[in-house]
């Protein structure tokens, strides 16, 4: 996986300019200006569209921003409320459920995605070339499905009347179904009314959509492990389990740390699929932090609470930055960012 870029570059710092650099001719600019000139447009875009909005978000979270404060025609300056928005969030009945939904969903989904993806990656590694390509093509279809389509498809699969999920559950013998779920007749069973079953359907759909990426990445990682290591382990009399734990797992560790962080970032803020499967902002019990923030700012018709929505978004951002801090530090340490 990583080898594609490192072998090409031969590791180290091949891009570092040599000490006695030959200067290009015909360039009127002094050397030191060039990198800044190249960087400036991109930096301005990032500053204007990400950094400044981030500052505004934080700033707005201390104000009470209503419709009258943001209307195009003579808006009233918003009222400064200090930490009121934050106290409101933490006192709200919605806070703990939303936080729980966010965290539990991310935790379960990340674990399931990584587990399933790894198993499929290991499977792909052992399959013959034809069979492996066949499975990868199938996985590609799931992976390429846009989030909107993903939500639509699974919404229909979990439909109470015409959904395939209920049809399949009805195929189970009654005693087994009773034993497992305490019910045997699934006809008309609604999945997308209660928060808990909405999240169940959401987990299934997101795991379905994201396991292929993990599987293909793990496969690429497995292919990059030199075969000699396994031969050596075999000669030393290592069994399959020991070999897996002592060679495969450590060799894949860097890959996994990236995959886990990427999965956390993606699953922590899931919005599109939740919005569509929960039917917009009507079901308040199904809110996670991003949907809650959206609902306060945009979902209430004329009852706009931009400041409160901003404060929720700040909380979400801070949680994500804390979780990914270790990862960022790791990259800064190991990469040639210096």
């Amino acid at each position: 996986m990583a080898h594609t870029s490192t072998t090409v570059r031969g590791g180290g710092h091949p891009s570092a300019p040599s000490r006695r650099r030959r200067a290009p001719r015909g360039s009127g600019l002094p050397d030191w200006v060039v990198p800044y000139g190249l960087l400036l447009p991109g930096f301005l875009v990032i500053a204007a569209l990400l950094l400044y909005p981030l500052y505004q978000l934080a700033d707005m979270s201390f104000y009470d921003v209503k419709l009258k404060n943001i209307r195009p025609v003579n808006p009233v300056p918003p009222e400064f409320v200090g930490l009121d928005n934050y106290t409101k969030i933490f006192d709200s009945d919605l806070f703990w459920p939303a936080l729980r939904n966010t965290v539990v969903f991310a935790l379960v989904t990340v674990i399931l995605t990584i587990a399933l993806g790894t198993l499929v990656g290991l499977l792909l590694h052992r399959l013959g070339p034809k069979m492996s390509t066949f499975v990868v093509i199938g996985a590609m279809a799931a992976w390429a499905t846009p989030p909107t389509s993903q939500a639509i498809i699974w919404k229909w699969l979990f439909d109470s009347d015409a959904g395939v999920v209920n049809w399949a559950l009805n195929l189970l013998p009654d005693w087994l179904s009773n034993l497992l779920f305490g019910m045997s007749d699934w006809s008309g069973h609604p999945w997308l009314n209660d928060a808990s079953t909405i999240y169940l359907a959401l987990i299934v759909s997101v795991v379905w959509g994201s396991f292929p990426f993990i599987a293909v990445s793990v496969l690429a990682g497995l292919k990059s492990i030199p075969g000699e290591l396994y031969e050596a382990a075999k000669m030393d009399g290592s069994g399959p389990v020991t070999t897996f734990m002592r060679i495969t797992v450590p060799m894949l560790k860097p890959v996994f740390s990236v995959l886990i962080v990427l999965s956390i970032i993606w699953d922590f803020k899931v919005f599109t699929q939740l919005y569509l499967m929960a039917g917009g902002t009507v079901n308040r019990e199904a809110f996670n932090l991003s949907l809650w923030s959206y609902a306060e700012a945009f979902g209430g018709g004329a009852n706009v609470k931009m400041g409160l929505g901003a404060a929720i978004a700040v909380v979400l951002t801070i949680i994500l930055l804390i979780i990914t801090f270790v990862h960022v530090r790791q990259i800064v340490k190991t990469e040639d960012v210096r």
Binding site: M1, T4, S5, P14, S15, P17, P24, R25, G26, S27, V34, P35, Y36, V45, I46, L49, L50, L51, L54, L57, I70, S132, F134, V135, G138, A139, A142, A144, P146, T148, S149, I152, L157, D161, A162, V164, N166, W167, W208, V216, S217, P254, V261, I265, F268, K269, T272, Y275, S290, F298, M306, G309, A313, L316, L321, T324, V328, V332, D336, V337
Partner: protein, 283 residues
């Protein structure tokens, strides 16, 4: 059991598992496409109907003629294409320049810029909905495709630079130096030497940005009120929120939206992994 028989059995079990994974992955997509071609009495039924018999083009025809919210699906496909293609082209220029700067030069603030790139990628795009919406409104860009284009350039740029810099760094420096010795200017060297060699990487990065922008839902939903300016995801979101949902038409529209993404995926499948993972681990 003989070792040979055991080996065969093991192989059969692996292939069986492979087929199960294939079916799990493909079935939902197959089901979506199937419904797009099923007559209504085969959609709204508790029976399991594996394929449309006979297939109908009614739904496909309906999304093109009657459309969604009074607009033909052509309109939404066009809007999505305008937004994604413009955002990608603009973003590619910014990303290429910035990637060249960080991969080819050592300068003050280079490290700070790279760390900044990394951190802004951790900020959830959804968190910036409120300030970006208000900013677009102040600038008169709300309800405009231009607003979506600008925002998508911003959202995709950090990752594009991050990924593209590895491609720039992979081009041997000596090539550029040789060109300088031959008397070529900085610009000529960039355009004639570096650019052709980085082009494949630029294509891969651009396809990434295209898919992200093509699929983008939250900003399209928030920024656009005028239904004629919906992108495909926003149109589908509107469509599915209606009281009596026309599932045949939704699945037809959803299938159409997926086609370009699938084609691009097949094109860049290999780079998807090395780009996301290698781009993130190794510089």
């Amino acid at each position: 059991m003989s070792p040979l028989a055991r080996k065969r059995l093991g192989k059969a079990a692996l292939n069986g598992a492979g087929i199960i994974v294939f079916l799990f992955a493909i079935f939902p997509v197959y089901w979506m496409i199937g419904i797009a071609f099923k007559p209504n009495d085969q959609i709204f039924t508790t029976d399991f109907i594996p394929f449309p018999s006979p297939p109908t083009l009614d739904h496909v025809e309906r999304v093109f003629t009657k459309g969604i919210a009074g607009h033909s699906i052509w309109q939404f496909l066009l809007n999505s294409t305008i937004v994604a293609v413009s955002a990608v082209l603009i973003g590619a220029v910014f990303a290429l320049l910035a990637a060249t700067a960080v991969a080819r030069f050592r300068f003050r603030f280079r490290t700070s810029f790279l760390i900044l790139l990394l951190i802004v990628q951790m900020v959830p795009a959804e968190a910036l909905l409120i300030p970006l919406f208000l900013m677009a409104r102040r600038l008169g860009l709300a309800d405009q495709l231009l607003g979506l284009i600008v925002i998508n350039v911003g959202l995709t740029l950090p990752f594009s630079v991050w990924m593209l810099r590895t491609f720039v760094a992979a081009v041997p420096k000596e090539l550029e130096e040789a060109s300088w010795i031959d008397g070529a200017s900085r610009f000529t060297t960039f355009w004639r030497v570096l650019f052709p060699l980085v082009a494949p990487g630029l294509v891969a990065t651009s396809i990434f940005a295209f898919i992200t922008t093509w699929n983008e839902f939250a900003y399209a939903l928030t920024l656009i009120n005028d239904q004629g300016k919906y992108t495909m995801p926003a149109a589908l979101g509107f469509f599915i929120g209606q009281r009596s949902t026309d599932w045949g038409a939704i699945m037809a529209a959803s299938t159409l939206m997926m086609i370009p993404v699938l084609i691009f995926f097949l094109l860049v499948q290999r780079r998807m992994v090395s780009g996301l993972v290698a781009g993130a681990v190794k510089g």
